[in-house]
């Protein structure tokens, strides 16, 4: 708004939002393979837990796919359910 009543001498610093992106949407990946545990490791922490979306930047649609892929991989003993030093 150009004619707002409040004016600042120094414009308040607004934190610039860091560009988050969904790596799947950016590189146009449509399928997440549960048979590739090395790749799924990117979405897990050291204990083998799933990382939240706010850390990985994955969109909701693909986060769902990631989580189901990880669970499938765990069932086949490609990934462990519990771990201590996964990375």
């Amino acid at each position: 708004m150009a004619d707002s009543e409040i004016r600042y001498l120094t414009p308040p610093s607004i934190e610039v939002k860091k560009g988050k992106y969904c790596r799947f949407q950016r590189s146009k990946i449509t399928h997440i393979d549960y048979k590739d545990p090395e790749f799924l490791l990117k979405f897990l922490n050291e204990q083998g837990k799933l990382l939240p979306r706010r850390l990985t930047g994955t969109s909701l649609k693909f986060q769902r796919k990631v989580s189901s892929s990880v669970k499938r991989a765990r069932q086949l003993a490609l990934l462990s359910y519990v771990a201590d030093n996964l990375k």
Partner: protein, 113 residues
């Protein structure tokens, strides 16, 4: 109307080579008898398990991709459950993205090899 499925099973490491082949063959004939069309098969060989299953730390992985009707799956899984030679199994249906991905992945492998 048939769907495309992918099944992986893990066999115990105590089996001999002949027993392994026999197990794989039995499931392939089972699928064929039920009118399934086997699209692709892949032997992963002996792999280390991420966690011990039935006190075993390794297992033989085998993957079969096939086209079949939905009712075949329950029969297949029942056969899996009755089989003591298997440690684990997983059957998933493949959507169009997965099919495209598998096809691409396979072509890449064949050109490399």
């Amino acid at each position: 109307m048939s769907n495309q499925y992918e099944t992986i099973f893990v066999m115990t490491p105590v089996l001999s080579d002949d027993q392994l082949k026999e197990t794989v063959k039995s499931y392939k004939t089972f699928l064929k008898e039920k009118g399934a069309e086997i699209v692709h098969e892949e032997n992963w060989g002996l792999r280390k398990l991420a966690y011990p299953i039935k006190k075993k730390s390794t297992g033989f992985y085998f993957l079969i991709e096939f086209k079949a009707e939905g009712k075949v799956i329950s029969e297949l899984e029942l056969a899996y459950k009755r089989d003591e030679r298997l440690l684990r199994f997983l059957t998933v249906s493949l959507d169009k993205h997965a099919q495209a991905f598998n096809l691409k992945f396979r072509n890449k492998k064949t050109t490399k090899a």
